[in-house]
Point group: C2
């Protein structure tokens, strides 16, 4: 890899080769997984390049194409599965400097991929009382481009479903990795080519996202004596079509009291909870509903004193992947899974899984809309012992009808649908014919004959030696 030649070609661009910084910027939150921690700890790029414009992105891609140097794009590095880690080294293309919010209109915002999600919302709220439909729990640090390339949903999915659903991304500008990179505008079904593709088949240089009405969401925690009471409450609340919420998150004891240190004063040991974000004008109806359902409001931002609120993280930083983060901070032996409890049997499936691993797996649900129905994903916390036991827990979920999106794998397929995404693969053939973009992440490209039923972890041959 002729990094020296590349440096000459990139004269005038922002480039970083300090080893420590390069290593730091080559990582994401892969260490949530003890398996990925072991496998990827040594992975590092050779150079961080931070373009400030689409023209500079094109220069980088053309040069790397010429020199055969891999390019792994990266937003803010808040992903979880090594999705932005350069498995074969080369250039880490940081989009973090491309942060412009270009235009805001009714229902729409256009911005550069490196814009931080909370910053976009600040701009759209000020402009016209609007906000993005969906955001990850890393709202304050994640970039919009990284969310589109690596995320699948999050806070707001209770109203709008997932990022890959029609209508949740409006338009993407994408630069291809060819001798002369092309700039493509994708809309409608063409968006599926690059959403949640980890940047393996094009570099996003501009995004247009739908907006919805913004509110000063009210954080609440509802307490229950048992986890299933919290889960049933969450499901029933999610089915209330007139009560506008943005987050409905049941979490089983002992996690809330044990891991939510700053909220501990509001909680009892052994208490399961449901974390909720409610629109201010829905609060009356929410409280009436919660009273009827027998939920106990243990924390309400609407009536908490300034002193009570001091230092409290927002509700969404107790939810989605932040639940895991808080658990890990207290107990480094914790890891997690990502599961789906398919409609209409979600509550029965949740109850089965809740009973199966006492003291070892702590349930954590996120209610969402999914193909028009209410159901829930899970991000259960797991006390990690061995890889074999982790695999067994995964197997027991899947055998019992709860698909696992394995967060202990770095490939798109193993973490996702466990099959070739023909659309993404075809687009990679077109947009990255030399296979230089984020190598090792798309099995369908690396090994078209890989057998997904083998239960064998895919090993990328190009992975840097440890």
């Amino acid at each position: 890899m002729d990094i020296a030649a590349l440096r000459r070609e990139l004269d005038g661009l922002k480039v970083e080769d300090n080893e420590k910084i390069v290593q730091q910027k080559s990582r994401d939150f892969y260490w949530y997984s003890p398996l990925l921690k072991r496998e990827l700890e040594h992975v590092t790029g050779d150079l961080i390049v931070s373009p400030k414009s689409e023209a500079e992105v094109i220069r980088v891609l053309a040069a790397c194409h010429r020199l055969g140097i891999p390019v792994t794009p990266r937003g803010a590095g808040t992903g979880n599965y090594g999705q932005a880690m350069p498995l074969s080294g080369g250039v880490v293309l940081s989009l973090a400097e491309m942060t412009e919010v270009k235009s805001i209109a009714s229902g729409r915002v256009v911005c550069q991929p490196g814009a931080i999600i909370a910053d976009i919302d600040r701009a759209t709220r000020t402009h016209s009382g609007q906000e993005l439909r969906l955001h990850p729990s890393t709202y304050n640090t994640a970039s919009i481009g990284g969310f589109i390339a690596g995320g699948s949903g999050g806070v707001g999915s209770i109203n709008f479903g997932g990022l890959r659903d029609f209508g949740n991304v409006l338009r993407l500008r994408v630069v291809t990795m060819e001798a002369e990179p092309r700039v493509l505008e994708l809309t409608g079904e063409n968006l599926h080519k690059v959403t949640h593709a980890y940047g393996t088949n094009g570099i996003i240089t501009e995004v247009e996202m739908p907006l919805t009405a913004s509110y000063d969401w009210v954080d609440l925690i509802v307490g229950f004596d048992t986890f299933m009471a919290a889960a049933r409450y969450g499901n029933a609340l999610a089915c209330q079509d007139g009560i506008l919420t943005k987050l409905i998150t049941p979490i089983a004891a002992p996690a809330p009291f044990a891991y939510f240190k700053r909220h501990q004063k509001f909680l009892r040991e052994g208490q399961s909870i449901c974390v909720v974000m409610v629109a201010p004008h829905a609060l009356d109806a929410f409280l009436a509903f919660t009273r009827r359902e027998g939920g106990e409001i243990v924390y309400s931002a609407a009536i908490a004193s300034p002193e009570d609120k001091k230092g409290l993280p927002p509700a969404y930083e107790l939810a989605w992947n932040h639940t895991t983060l808080r658990a890990l901070r207290v107990d480094p032996a914790i890891t997690y899974l990502q599961s789906l409890y398919p409609f209409p049997n979600q509550l029965a499936l949740v109850e089965n899984m809740e009973k199966m691993f006492p003291g070892e797996v702590f349930s954590h649900l996120e209610f969402v809309r999914f193909d028009g129905n209410i159901t829930c994903f899970g991000l259960p916390l797991v006390k990690f012992t061995t890889e074999e036991r982790l695999d067994e827990i995964i197997r027991l979920h899947e055998e019992n009808g709860c698909p696992i999106f394995n967060p202990h794998r770095y490939t798109l397929e193993e973490g996702g649908m466990k099959q070739t995404d023909a659309i993404q693969l075809a687009f990679k053939r077109e947009a990255d014919p030399r296979g230089l973009l984020n190598p090792g992440k798309m099995i369908a490209w690396e090994n078209p004959d890989y057998d997904y039923r083998s239960e064998k972890t895919f090993l990328f041959k190009g992975l840097q030696a440890g």
Copy 2:
């Protein structure tokens, strides 16, 4: 009934006793039903009183209470089941002069009950880009108070469910009919006391409604060769969590071509359609989805020429009860039903009913959210022959799992859940102890022993002689 004494007591209030005008203002769209037309044609009040303030409402109620004169409240008279018709005569209390929009905030509007729904939306759009969540097809003529007292849902129910769901009405001020009328503020579960109670247990003098983001909704018509193709498409579109729509209305041939005269130039004879309202920023995704599903866009307001658009009614005036109105204008023998196709079997139930009455019943569906799921109501058009046959068509729906909300009855119970609403009844005991408010509409009050399984039409003894 001492109307002369009442006139003296109401000195200074706006009162109308011209017989023709009183009769006109004593009617609603009851004539959609040939049965109600026969039963209620002779019904008329003695006096129309139009208070301009809550204080004047209180004066009217106190005076009528003293004199034992019935009071039947009325918004704009756009209801369908004689719900605002004074069965025992007396005062028709028109709220049409109380039209003030009092305040608008994020997610909330406060107004008087006589405000026309379209006028409220104009005010909230101008103020802050917001609009009401739900409205009837009589958007341009219906009052908000009438909608709350007599409606159940409509355009927007695909996103927010029904009017009686928690959160779809925020607060109501209600005046009781007692010697000294009280003013009550109802929120949360207490709202169920008076929503959809036809004004039988209190007079609404102020409403607070939730708002949502307003958009310049795009009207579209999608054409299909068969009705079931249109129904399946509507169901699938409704399940697209990321495509923001406000109306999804499949209508079977021959109705569209035969009855939608102003849209006829866009339609083929024998064509079934799905009428849709889509948010502008959802249009790309909507078109991609519709292409994938094999729907043919026969009309799109986004690309129609000014000449094409000239004189066209808005999409919502092809839907809900306006479908019936348009059919009636062309064929006076048409009447209709109101049905529910319960989730998750809605499409199979729709198909059963579609086959059962060829040439006699024309399917018309409205997709909605209902307890968190997507399903559909029906407002099928019926070629009326006899009362017996109409009853048989109703019976065949119910025997096949499709509940009918009978629009050929003037009581709350027969048109709705066919059981006593204990909450509404208890509140009537408290708020209208002499039973003077809209007499004859609540069976539970008039005859607590009425047997809902008798299949006998309830006959109100106090109904004016014909």
